[in-house]
């Protein structure tokens, strides 16, 4: 499963999308992003296929931008050196 962020037009669209998806049993987290259309906007983070999400949001007339993969978090640093 791959996590993506789907840019939307505005916070209003993002909230509308998140609630709609939630009503359909899909978790979507709203985030502010700086690399979407026009430099900054709000998007939704989801683990679901972006094509499916965008098709669902089209039903409620929410326009999606190009989804962006979310890189996996870096591995945690190793424990400090153990004393012998």
């Amino acid at each position: 499963m791959r996590t993506v962020i789907i840019p939307l037009n505005s916070y209003t669209d993002a909230r509308k999308a998140a609630r709609y998806l939630s009503s359909r049993g899909i978790r979507a987290h709203i985030e502010k992003i700086s690399s979407g259309r026009g430099g900054c906007t709000f998007g939704i983070r989801t683990d679901e296929p972006p094509e499916m999400i965008c098709a669902m949001l089209a039903e409620i007339m929410v326009r999606c931008g190009r989804s962006m993969p979310v890189p996996p978090p870096p591995p945690p640093p190793p424990f400090g050196r153990r004393r012998r």
Binding site: N9, S10, Y11, T12, I30, K32, G39, F42, R63
Partner: protein, 379 residues
Amino acid sequence: MIYFDNAATTYPKPPSVIAAMSRALVKYGANPGRAGHAMSLETAEAVYDAREKCADLFGAQVENTVFMPNCTFALNTAIKGVLTENSHAVISDIEHNAVLRPLYALSKSSGISYTQAVTGDDDSTVREFERCINRRTKAVICTLAGNVTGRIMPVKRIAEICRRNGICFIVDAAQGAGVLPIKLSDGINIICAAGHKGLYGPMGTGLLVTDGKYRLKTLIEGGTGSLSKELAQPDFLPDRFESGTINTAGAISLGAGVDFVNSKGIGTIRAHENALCRRFFDGVSKLPTVKLYSSDFDERYAPVIPFNIGDLPAEKTSQLLSDAGFALRGGFHCAFPAHKKIGTADTGAVRFSPSVFNTMQEVNALVRAVGRISARYCV
């Protein structure tokens, strides 16, 4: 002070609205729809909740429900947004200056013309509106209910005329929202409403609700928290018409006002206010010096009654009533054509407009006060 000036703004506000305002100022202090930090997102969600409530009230999509500083700003946005140079508009003959003044300004700057349809009973009003439409007509603007006369306009029938002629129909719901049922599905393209009258929100709030059919030019441009790199104003709602920081606490508490209206029910609110108007009308009509400007008060009217006491100037009557502990507005109510219509162009009138919080006892007390003023000044 017993307050009967609710057509200007409702007072008192419901405790839930006051609590929502206070909570908003304390808890929702970040600028909504701008940052991604937790407080901004929480504030944005609270604003969204309020927006959704307002949208549901008018049967609109949430994104097509725009918060405005007041109904006048909403009307200016709609009127100036839809009319093009040298186009024509039709309005009723009882419109408020919030409709008249933008049109007058446009007539001076952009060659726009407008015709006032003479209103009467519903059938003649509808015929008049249709007669006034010409090939240059781009918009019809009509009040839902007059702020002086209280007369309810046949907006559904006017909407059908506009639909047949491909004309944008804008309704000024300042007096009617929260008291009369009104939805976009009535055939209306744009509803402009005050948040601080029948919706019991604070002053400094209003709404522009649209079906999205007509693309409006912007009145102002600025920061919207979206597409910051682009110089062009966003082309999507609500951002397109919400430049700058909105009245966040106002919007959130307006949502509480809509909750209050829904909890009471528009029908119940109207029945209560109509009963108060009925009592007032019946009471003062027995006083020989009191002038009323309709033959009766009935379902044709929103809860607004203009009156005068003898030949007393309306402002004088209003002052005397204020001295007696009653708040009513006397004058021309920013709607001079309405006063010309009812024959008070020279004197103005005093306006009785109750709210859901007024009582029969208060109305009876007002009637007695009107009687005392009449006896003292009009013998």
